[in-house]
Symmetry: C2
């Protein structure tokens, strides 16, 4: 796992890093920042007093506060890790309290709506570099984070045109040191790409789990018992944080509806193949999809261990 | 993993076990039968000479032949592990060569069509007990099997009315010794249950992977890079054996179309929630689905390790 990790940096990359919202991503950033010396001082901000208390207990930050304005003061890097629905509000709230030349970023899974909600409210002296690390697990909260979450994953940056090149470079270094590959694209292209690689997959996972729960002919207990037939795979992402995902779907409507339209068209064609017994059509699709997984494994984005390496499939021959 | 495994049986449960079709399931059965002494002599039959050669090399059977009629002669247990599309043909081919009082079974993911295709052709002296072990990985072939594949998984039996009770009991013992829990139901109920827990999940996984491969606005390379956003989860079951899954969908049309209809209705409602910004509706669904995963984990059908325990999520805090 530590293949991309070298020695921690001799000098901290940033003086003072503030993380606003200490969930899975925020707490993972604090952990890797400490481990790799990415900032001299780590500040954690969370609106929930319970989360602040827990962050103090596990000791992953130097300073902890529930007051975002206080927390960002003097920081040369501020990363908003709240659910997408409140990122813009928080940004507007802290805008006038940011230090000149600070980098302001976020980790939201939606970029178009977030950028539109933040950019007009920022002082010109702040470097705004939206980001989206494509990494996560189905768990949430400050205890669920870990320092290697970003290793070998991709982080997408969507800096507005005219953003200071040195600031971008320094922020790219931050993510590289956290273990990530970095790619730059526009917010609208980001939203299309993520609609198909993340948002629609979550949507149909939530949907099928809901469908299964509502059946009358098949009991809930049967769904659970026989879930190893494939269903249980979908329950993982359908166990992700409900607030986070509600906010994503409310803020990325057009891209998701566009990709969902494609999915539905293709599903109708597939349904027709089954109804009319088109074995060749089914076989061709099922062969094509196999190749894509091979590429994902070859590019280090997936394990080749059978069954994701779940405990049920140890190689023991 | 060996929690349900005790000592191997002192006396073999069956005299002679013939496995027809040595893929993931067939080769796993041979391995566990050897390890647990479930049959004195193990016979492997496969229509492919290449598979027969490989089975001889890895030494998981006492006898290996490509001639099914030869292979089943004298066996008191015969299990057909071929793709669903050829099970009935194989059964008809061997029917008159089966020993009196032999148990004939299969492992097909479809029960209604398979039972209808086999039952009328069997001699009255044979005990026909169709089975479906709900277990597997995305890999196929004789090298992909392992002896613990069935541990803590469910095996569904669908014996026709009037089947000899002692034969059922002995065959249940076989699956219990292989590590499985056993449940008995009718073929048509089996097909409904599996349509929602296995067939429709596979169908929509194949479908979204196909949709992603066909996009123009998003490149294949982007789909692969950013697949950790959720998409890659679907590629696992969409990498399953194309022949096996073609046959399943051709043989279980009605149950799959019924469940797919429910899925589509629910997806239309979800799509509408997104279009109209119904945050409460989204939140309620996303909360409900979380609970189902918790039950699946609690009942030992899934790991609670984050991200399926993939190498990308070690706990290191």
């Amino acid at each position: 796992m530590a293949d991309r990790f070298g020695e921690p940096l001799p000098d901290a990359l940033f003086e003072r890093l503030t993380i606003v919202g200490v969930g899975l991503i925020g707490s993972s950033l604090l952990r890797v920042a400490r481990q790799r010396n990415l900032a001299r001082t780590l500040v954690a901000v969370d609106a929930s007093e319970a989360v602040c208390t827990r962050v103090r207990e596990i000791g992953i930050a130097d300073e902890v506060t529930s007051d975002a304005r206080d927390g960002v003061r003097g920081s040369d890097l501020v990363i908003l890790c709240t659910p997408v629905g409140v990122i813009a509000n928080v940004a507007r709230d802290i805008a006038q309290h940011l230090t000149a030349n600070a980098i302001l970023s976020d980790v939201g899974s939606v970029k178009g709506a977030v950028v539109a909600g933040i950019q007009p409210h920022l002082p010109a002296s702040v470097h705004f570099i939206p980001a989206h690390p494509v990494a996560g697990t189905e768990y949430s909260g400050p205890d669920s984070g870990f320092s290697t979450l970003f290793v070998d994953r991709w982080c997408i940056l969507t800096p507005p045109e005219g953003t200071d090149a040195q600031a971008i470079e320094k922020f790219q270094a931050f993510w590289s040191e956290a273990g990530s590959n970095v790619e730059i694209m526009t917010p609208s292209h980001h939203d299309l790409v993520l609609a198909i690689t993340s948002h629609v997959p979550h949507l149909i996972a939530y949907n099928i789990v809901g469908t299964a729960a509502d059946l009358e002919e098949v009991t809930q207990s049967e769904v659970i018992k026989f879930s190893a037939g494939g269903f249980r795979d979908f329950t993982r992402i359908a166990a992700s944080d409900p607030t986070m995902w509600r906010d994503i779907f409310l803020n990325i409507r057009d891209a998701v509806l566009e990709m969902l339209g494609r999915f539905n068209e293709d599903l109708a064609a597939l349904q027709r193949m089954i109804r009319w017994g088109d074995g060749q059509g089914l076989f061709d699709l099922f062969t094509r999809t196999r190749a894509i997984r091979r590429s994902i494994i070859a590019q280090g984005q997936e394990t080749q261990a059978p069954d994701f390496g779940r405990r049920s499939a140890p190689p023991d021959q």
